[in-house]
């Protein structure tokens, strides 16, 4: 979800055409945009990773173009965009990513996002690195985001170009290894895209898949994002929106009628 929101939406070609869009990556072709140990591919031809089926799989896109694997970032360098049939500067052909919900006009959208890393360590080792970083930054604890329910981002120029990622399972990990991680609640990940990428330090070796439905101007389309765990040296968190409602006044009815 982190990559889908922060990176994926910004390499959709239709966003490079809209003059109101921030076009984070428009001028960055063939320049480094991610740490050099990371590559990002979008592969709608991929049906599964391991045993997990991928929702972003399709044979043809919604403009009738054959689906194909597109390497958007190779070893940290931006190579291309996700293309529908509307050309942008430097790219005049579709690469099979014109997608839409039935009833909408297709625009360039994501498919199966796969983050590939050449700097992987075991997940245990990643935890050690996290603790090292805490000590270096003199922090008593770090956060481990284990599961995520979704996220959103804005890419227009008129608004803050920020992302929100909404985790639902978060652990507080202490620098002191003898203290067990504690389950905590009520935080969201926030930030701005370019800063966030620069802070990725390393990745784990166990790839995990998030299947979901992505909503944008051409409706909801099924997508997936797969990535190994990421160690990020710094990211901002904010308190989750919370309801002011008090718990129910009466206890739940329990008696079953005979």
């Amino acid at each position: 979800v982190f990559f889908h929101e922060i990176f994926g939406h910004r390499v959709e070609a239709s966003r490079q055409r809209n003059s109101d869009d921030s076009q984070t990556f428009s001028g960055k072709l063939n320049q480094p945009v991610l740490p050099s140990f990371l590559s990002v591919v979008f592969d709608p031809t991929l049906q599964k990773i391991g045993n997990i089926e991928l929702m972003g799989h399709y044979a043809f896109d919604d403009e009738g173009m054959k689906a194909r694997r597109v390497t958007v970032v190779e070893k940290g360098t931006l190579k291309t965009f996700l293309m529908d049939r509307a050309p942008v500067h430097g790219f005049d052909r579709s690469n099979g990513h014109g997608r839409a919900e039935p009833g909408y006009l297709p625009v360039s959208r994501q498919s199966n996002l796969v983050v590939e890393s050449s700097k992987t360590v075991s997940n245990d080792r990643l935890m050690d690195l996290l603790r090292d970083e805490m000590r270096k930054q003199h922090k008593p604890f770090g956060l481990l985001f284990d599961n995520i329910e979704g996220g959103f981002t804005t890419t227009s120029r008129g608004s803050a170009n920020a992302f929100n990622v909404l985790p639902n399972v978060v652990y507080k990990v202490y620098a002191d290894e003898s203290r067990a991680p504690e389950l905590v609640r009520g935080v969201d990940l926030i930030g701005t895209p370019l800063t966030a990428f620069a802070k990725i330090m390393a990745t784990g070796d166990k790839v995990e898949v998030f299947n979901g439905v992505c909503g944008a101007e051409s409706g909801g389309v099924p997508v997936s994002a797969s990535s190994p765990p990421l160690l990020v040296s710094e990211v901002e968190v904010q308190k989750k929106a919370q309801s002011q409602e008090t718990p129910p006044i009466l206890p739940a009815p329990t008696q079953t009628r005979k």
Binding site: P248, L250, P253, Q255, R257
Partner: protein, 563 residues
């Protein structure tokens, strides 16, 4: 109110309605787990639900509507929709305060536009699972109570700052009634009705020049379960069917030529026979096709003859709303008060509102008229109050208005017309002591044109319902079928007209009415119908205007040839 008081009040005042014809033969009434769950949670909430320092609920109301919905449509002989669904909706209302001043009828700033009352509608489980239904009632009641407390506090604060004028109670006291009219609901086969829609819409392929012709059918049937803390309890059938047949063509000048008819019944099975529907569709097709060549009518002010459904639609849209004792909610910020004013007839009780020979009434007990079922007839209203037949106008003078449990000035009690979210009509009837046969009405009209030295007049035969026709600009009802008539009796079809706004005083100057009356039914919401039974009418003066429609150029290439 304590539980004991609740039971006592209920026992003292119960009476029972029976014998209303149900959807089909009613099975032996079996206590549904729905009613059981509603009763148990209502009792518990009234007795125990309290927030310290805040008023307890004085009134709780539950309603679960269990419905089968059918929707089928077809265009030019091809099925477009064929849907069948089942659903249960739950509505909970909680009031705090008392009958004279409570948490209802108030729009707070944070909820502006989202409805005035502290009630919530959500879906309920289809399975008759007592535990799950009760659990949902528990949460819905809790939420509704908390909202009621918050609205009540704001309402009290707002009213403390206002000088009291015309203080009316918020809710009327009514004797509790139990109504038990269970009906076995047999769902329809949507494919059969889709096939009929196909057949009817195919009528439009026979006429040249028609761009599109549609037949649309819906049917909602089921059971409504209603319970409140005063001891009202009702199990009643839900039954409404709707048919709309419409066609559109384009005149050479780009104006859209359209015509349609709608039929509302209790059930699709009550529709007129297919042979009738098909011939109506064919006549509609012929009118639309010929209408393309008809001249555009002219603005006109003067006597108008309204016939058949045109008369019924005009009465339903312009006169019936005046008979409803509605009371718009108050608002925290009066600038955001939801629009809508009380009827001007509120101050005209005892005065003449129709021509002297006219009487009017609302008779929800009228189940059949002229051998046809009357869709607007009902036994109890949406507040479970038994429907009363109400004489509204005698010799042109207004006697009273139609009321719900929201009191209005000098109208403190409900007469069983709380329907579809406010006071509404059931079966509105109007007639004249001096009625003449419909065949003589045209001669009278021509005479009138001669006396007034009018070179021509209009006979209006069909007008559109609200929302039936879009994009025609502001004004009164859009005319679907009208002829220009000269004093010698010659008729010429015209297009592109609508009625102007109809003032409430126009009905005092109705000159003539026919003996024959037209039954016409219309929808109040997805499950509630109302009917009017009215004669053909000659108004002394109405405005007719041209529609202001932004015309599109006709299609660039001719239609593809039909196979």
């Amino acid at each position: 109110m304590s539980n004991r008081a609740l039971t006592a009040a209920a026992a003292a005042a119960f009476f029972l309605i029976a014998g209303w014809p149900a959807l089909s033969s009613a099975p032996a009434a079996q206590q549904s787990p729905l009613i059981g769950a509603m009763q148990d949670e209502l009792k518990r909430s009234m007795a125990e639900m309290r927030v310290k320092g805040e008023p307890p609920p004085y009134y709780i109301e539950y309603e679960i509507d269990d419905t089968w919905s059918l929707r089928a449509s077809a265009r030019l002989g091809a099925v477009v929709e064929d849907l069948m669904s089942r659903g249960r909706s739950l509505r909970v209302q909680v009031r705090v305060g008392d009958y004279s001043f409570d948490s209802s009828r108030f729009v707070t700033m944070d909820r502006a536009g989202s409805g005035p009352s502290a009630d919530a509608t959500m879906s309920a489980p289809l399975d008759d699972n007592y535990d799950v239904i009760r659990r949902q009632l528990w949460l819905a009641t809790d939420a509704a109570y908390k909202r009621a407390i918050s609205i009540y506090a704001k309402k009290k604060a707002a009213f403390q700052n206002r000088s009291a004028t015309d203080v009316l109670p918020d809710f009327s006291r009514e004797p509790p009634v139990e109504t038990d009219l269970p009906a076995a609901v047999a769902p329809l086969k949507s494919s059969e009705w889709a096939a009929r829609a196909r057949q009817i819409s195919a009528a439009f392929t026979s006429e040249s020049g028609i761009e599109t012709g549609d037949a649309f059918l819906t049917d909602v049937r089921g059971t409504s379960y209603y319970l409140n803390s005063e001891g009202f309890k009702a199990v009643t059938p839900i039954a409404m069917a709707f048919m709309r047949v419409s066609a559109e063509a384009q005149a050479p000048d780009g104006m859209t030529v359209r015509d349609l008819f709608t039929i509302v019944e209790n059930r699709l099975e009550d529709l007129p026979p297919m042979s009738d529907l098909l011939s109506r569709a064919r006549r509609l097709a012929a009118r639309v096709s010929e209408g393309r060549a008809a001249p555009i009518g002219e603005d006109f002010t003067g006597p108008i003859l309204l016939e058949g459904t045109a008369s019924a639609e005009v009465i339903r849209q312009a006169l019936v709303p005046l008979m409803l004792a509605r009371r718009p909610p108050d608002a925290e910020n009066p600038r955001f008060a939801p629009g809508g004013q009380s009827t001007p007839f509120l101050t005209r009780i005892g005065l003449r509102v129709l021509s002297e020979s006219f009487s009017a009434s609302d008779t929800p007990s009228l189940k059949a008229f002229d051998g046809r079922p009357v869709a607007g007839a009902y036994a109890i209203d949406d507040e479970a109050v038994p429907a009363k037949d109400v004489r509204l106008v005698e010799k042109g003078r207004l006697l009273t208005l139609l009321t719900s449990r929201t009191p209005q000035k000098n109208l403190p009690r409900s007469n069983g017309h709380g329907r579809a979210g406010g006071a509404q009509a059931g079966v509105f009837q109007m007639q004249s002591l001096l009625a003449i046969p419909a065949s003589e009405l045209k001669a009278k009209y021509l005479e009138l044109l001669k006396v007034q030295e009018k070179p021509f007049g209009y006979i209006v035969r069909a007008v559109a319902g609200p929302g039936d026709v879009q994009g025609t600009g502001p004004g009164g009802p859009v005319i679907l079928e009208a002829v220009k008539v000269t004093p010698d009796g010659k008729e010429e079809p015209v297009r592109g007209l609508r009625l102007g706004g109809i003032p409430s005083t126009a009905f005092r100057d109705i000159l003539e009415a026919s003996k024959e009356r037209t039954l016409f039914s219309y929808r109040l919401n997805f499950a509630t119908a109302a009917s009017v039974v009215v004669p053909n009418l000659i108004f002394e003066e109405l405005d007719i205007q041209r529609t202001r429609e932004i015309g599109q150029k006709p299609p660039v290439v001719p239609p593809p040839a039909l196979n």
